[in-house]
Amino acid sequence: MNRILALWRTAIGKKVVMALTGLIGLAFLVSHVISNLLVFTDPHHLDEWGEFLRSLGPALWLARAVLLGAVVLHIVAAWQLTQQARAARPGAYARHDTQVATYAARTMRWGGVLLAVFIVFHILHLTWGQFHPDFREGEVGRNLITGLAVTPVALFYAVAMLALGAHFAHGVWSVFQTLGLNHPAWNRARIALAVGSAVLIAGGFLAIPLAALLGVLG
């Protein structure tokens, strides 16, 4: 435990925590996006998936605890590293031309804030039925369709999913570097994996609010 605390005290250690908690989030989102796409087969399939998750009982609560813990650690580490970085350059340059930093890399912090706001809204919206015109307990597929029929809500979902894609594109690439895995033989595969997983996950999620906005959902 002392060794983990010693690691946490360094900036490198906080990045390791961000990498590992990010991977937990990635694993969750893979299962989330696959189950979400059931809405395009038959919305009742989503209800069945929801019933299955609830049947897991304590295992579901354990998963929720792990996910909540991962999100909290990810945000705390990001907050502390951001404060450290801001303090490290108290006076801004009159001119600073970045050369290779990608859009995804430069928007990690504000994109992360947007995603945090989205996660809170999303749980209020489709778990607790807030901001929802006609929420019915247990009717997961129907709640999704009627919830996204509200255009501003669907737009917010779509924007958040674009932010998610950018966040994962830089995040997945970064995980390898942070955990010490950078090798010329594998770096092209790293980029492919990062961009590929970001496009597949964010694209899968994005399909649902887009379908709602185009009026073809449900």
């Binding site: 060794r3 983990i4 010693a6 690691l7 005290r9 360094t10 900036a11 490198i12 250690g13 906080k14 990045k15 390791v16 590293l81 450290q84 970085a85 801001r86 303090a87 490290a88 350059r89 108290p90 006076g91 801004a92 340059y93 009159a94 001119r95 600073h96 031309d97 970045t98 050369q99 290779v100 930093a101 890399a105 430069r106 990690m108 830089h170 690439w173 970064s174 390898f176 570097q177 942070t178 955990l179 010490g180 895995l181 950078n182 090798h183 010329p184």
Partner: protein, 257 residues
């Protein structure tokens, strides 16, 4: 060629600074520092205060020159220090913004001169090896694989100029520290202190007030010696192992590597 320079002027560490505009007549064969020399000669001739800037060898190897030139550390040319940057990289009539490397850990001494002794302190806590004194060892007594030697030499090319910190949006010193860690970690001679070294240097780096790494890659691009981001991955890897697994520093094993 006729140039307009916007140069950072700051009378001392705690004095307020500002950009000052100067016209200078240069020719394309001058180095950037020679152009500043010409500007300073003019300033001295008219009773002004010359602009303070760091320089020493002027052949790209000492790490003393610095400068943010139009928003890029050491200016626009890749793999080039400011002293090796020539005015042919610019056009007649250009306006060039010249600022010091900015980081809390690199306080401004005066004008464009910053104090980079934070780097010296990072090296001091771990950038050494234990070697027996007395007669010189045989040159090739310790076999070193060719690729290890090459990678170590690539890391050892770091001249400690601080361009990585200057270019990093987080003012992080990860590329510098990783180069110092990697050039010894890649060699058999560096193994004895390997894990202790990385812990000490990382701790010192944080203590000096540098930011963390967010994998932008700006440092690698700005580096006049093209130090690779691979070194940062090695630093991360070695730091993980040193912190979580390595046993040097355990109380019951004090003094044992």
């Amino acid at each position: 060629m006729q140039l307009t320079l916007k140069v950072w002027r700051q009378a001392g560490p705690d004095a307020p600074g500002r950009l000052e505009t100067h016209a200078v007549e240069a020719n394309e064969h001058m180095s950037f520092l020679e152009m500043l020399d010409v500007l300073n000669e003019g300033l001295i001739a008219t009773g002004g205060e010359p602009i303070a800037f760091d320089h020493d060898c002027r052949e790209g190897i000492c790490g003393m020159c610095s400068l943010m030139i139009n928003g890029q550390a050491h200016g626009p040319r890749a793999a080039t220090t400011t002293c090796q940057l020539h005015m042919r990289e610019f056009q007649d009539g250009d306006t060039i913004v010249v600022e010091p490397f900015r980081a809390r850990a690199f306080p401004v001494v005066r004008d464009l001169v910053v104090d980079r002794s934070a780097f010296d302190r990072i090296i001091a806590v771990g950038g050494y090896i234990t070697a027996p004194t007395g007669s010189a060892p045989d040159g090739n007594a310790i076999p070193v694989p060719k690729d290890s030697a090459d990678l170590a030499m690539d890391a050892a090319a770091c001249i400690g100029c601080g361009a990585c910190v200057a270019a990093c949006p987080n003012a992080s010193a990860m590329l510098f520290t990783s180069a110092k860690v990697a050039h010894l970690a890649r060699l058999p001679q560096g193994q004895a202190e390997r894990w202790r070294r990385v812990r000490a240097m990382v701790e010192q780096m944080d203590e000096e007030g540098f930011g963390g790494c967010t994998n932008f890659g700006e440092c690698e691009t700005a580096c006049p010696k093209e130090i690779s981001l691979e070194n940062i991955a090695l630093l991360n890897r070695d730091h993980l192992r040193a912190t979580l697994i390595d046993r040097s520093g355990d109380s019951s094993h004090a003094g044992v590597m």
